[in-house]
Subunit: 216 residues, 2 copies
DNA sequence: CGGAAGTTTGAAGATACTCAAGCGCAGTGG
DNA sequence: CCACTGCGCTTGAGTATCTTCAAACTTCCG
């Protein structure tokens, strides 16, 4: 779901839709009809289990495709909520399907979009299962920076559209742990941090945080 | 990748292939050609990051479909290793693609197989991010029992084909923690445990372990 | 401007990890 | 045949990391 949209998807004529910050693009249980290409803004996906437990399972930014969970049940399986005012292009599944039958390249694109998400999810499982707090934060920042850079933002910094609590939920940490971790990375001179505003000062050393040290 | 294979997939004529315990069905970097339907036996998938870090990201049993990571790169993105002697049916991707163009139901099946995996992965991320050790173990056992039961094994017990270390890697725990957790669940009378042999004695209370208590 | 929400930081406590030792089983070779 | 070795499992004691609880500060938005 986090995938860059491949070439063919870009060329589909598609209706646009705006979602206000805090509103849902769709919710768990909603009927599944379309995929969505994020034009501007950003979103989070959240799973809720039967009991109260809930977790942010992904963040999605401009240039990525979301919404194709729930093909197999016909219903969306999680909530997709806008972190800021966001615009998406609607790609009706019916059209994608028939289009794919005529245009093999599109068919492959759809599969690529999905398989890429699997790979990312497995990387995320690796992170959640084997890294300690500060490593998770470093991985998170590097990943986000990379994804934002590719859609042409300023290289030298970006804004976190999510709260510490949301980051913590995503990374399997408490919000206090996130805060402390950021503070330490800043004190060490790896990043500059002004509340939501982040700049990666020393990406080499930040990357080294990942590789170095204990596998937990 | 963990998905039950839907109807159309079952009817494809397919070559069979046997994998000895410990051998790989494919490895990260191998060219991607086929999907595989597991006939008998079981497998694990493992991701390795650039540094030494590695993790089991999934277990797969008879009736499930694996191998369609790597569509987007043309190469497999992780290793798939047999936990016991295992037989799979080979479903060449070319054939699936052309078949899907003729047979819309198959096309949908492929998508279902993939979207189901996403949903499962997100559940796994929820587990890794928000549960404590004993809850993870309970979730693991319940999930595995359910998947084995549906392919017609004895209801009253099953054999773990993986080591404690592999379970730990999958659940983000150390092998000692897995061992202690199993022992406690056994002492509490929720399960019976004889090394690799497990029986869920009180599935209600085991389920309650999940729901109860702290969200970490 | 004021209240609510979000962030930072400290201190105390809990969970899971590390290190370590012992047991049992399977396969190997003397 | 049986000791021997390796591997996997269990259990204990001490420790590190992360969480919990709490308080104060800042930012955002109506």
């Amino acid at each position: 779901m986090r995938s860059k949209e491949p070439g063919q998807l870009n060329q589909l004529i598609a209706e646009r839709r705006c979602i206000r910050r805090g509103d849902a693009l769709f919710r768990a249980g909603d009927p599944f009809n379309s995929w969505y290409a994020v034009s501007t803004g950003s979103l989070k996906s959240t799973v809720a289990s039967l009991d109260g437990r809930a977790q942010v399972t992904g963040f999605y930014v401009a240039g990525e495709v979301v919404g194709w969970d729930g093909i197999h049940t016909g219903k969306h399986s999680f909530d997709m909520v806008a972190l800021e005012d966001t615009e998406v292009r609607v790609l009706p599944y019916r059209q994608l399907e028939s289009g794919a039958r005529l245009l093999p390249a599109l068919h492959t694109d759809l599969h690529k979009t999905m398989s890429r998400e699997i790979v990312r999810d497995h990387e995320m499982m690796l992170l959640l299962g084997s890294m300690r707090a500060e490593q998770r934060l470093a991985a998170f920042l590097l990943n986000l920076a990379q994804r934002l850079k590719t859609v042409g933002r300023v290289n030298s910094g970006f804004t976190l559209q999510m709260t510490r609590a949301e980051i913590g939920s995503f990374l399997g940490l408490k919000l206090e742990t996130v805060s402390r971790g950021f503070s330490r990375l800043a004190r060490s001179g790896l990043i500059e941090l002004n509340c939501r505003q982040v700049r990666i000062v020393n990406s080499l050393r930040l990357r080294r945080v990942l590789h170095a040290t204990p596998a937990r």
